[in-house]
Symmetry: C2
Amino acid sequence: MTKLSQVSESESLRLGNQLCFSLQAASRAFGSVYRVLLKDLGLTYPQYLVMLVLWEHGELPVKRIGEHLRLDSGTLSPLLKRLEATGYVRRARSAEDERSVTVALTEAGTSLRERAVCVPQHILGVTDLSLDEAMALQSLLARVTASLDAAAPPD
Amino acid sequence: MTKLSQVSESESLRLGNQLCFSLQAASRAFGSVYRVLLKDLGLTYPQYLVMLVLWEHGELPVKRIGEHLRLDSGTLSPLLKRLEATGYVRRARSAEDERSVTVALTEAGTSLRERAVCVPQHILGVTDLSLDEAMALQSLLARVTASLDAAAPPD
DNA sequence: CGCAATTCAATTGCGCACAACTGAAATGTG
DNA sequence: CACATTTCAGTTGTGCGCAATTGAATTGCG
């Protein structure tokens, strides 16, 4: 098994830089498609991710949401404030632990789910990948992320 | 060839959402590693990308840089101003076309290249992918981006 | 128990991405 | 040639991602 770090310099230079760039490009391309789809729902993509977590797990403290999405309070606090302003979410200090803030879905936030189920299908519809390819991609991404995290731990 | 849009609902719902998420996660993980490496060079990752373009192509108008990196003037103008403040780049209105601004490397910007060549190798060293896997990943990403762009054109 | 260390959300500050707009310069058309 | 259209870079405003810090609440240890 040839390791990338053993490939010729010019080759690895190109590939090394290009890999991250392609990743970013793909990520932003997804962003454009999501932006259009989510506009009607009054959500940005990161806000949509938070809603997915809440739809799946129900009421959660900010910390837990951050663990699911790898986001810290610096990102989540203002984002959740905007979700609250939109009316999809309610925040309240936990009674058991006054440091913690519990985020819960409002009525509007809960019912939004039905209007959002079509989103991932629409996304998949335009990716033009086979199931195998999508799973292969997913698997490669997971491995890359894991090894990068080992090198520069997210904590 | 099974198309994702034909897979069962629950499966595609999960995969559809997860694909973009994994992409973002991998992109951010790369970002963390690059951030550490580029700190010594006084560059952010997007600034590094601009430098790569300039190292390869030499003096270029803002528009061309944007075409290489898929970035518009709203992103590039302040970024280039910061690169100029750091001293890696010089900007000047083009003589032939007064609308255009030409970006050129300074002495410091040119010589920075030597200190930057180790970056992609270091990055590759921690991705833990074989050459085949890296190329497969690259190819999948390119296809995904192309199909997403067809659905929501970057223009 | 009492005090230090830890945990949690929030805030501040910086840089990037993108949409929408501005204004100046160039191009094209009648 | 005159005037509308297009092409540039820049600015403004919003939202994200992350580092660093703050302040309050909890936990742990002596």
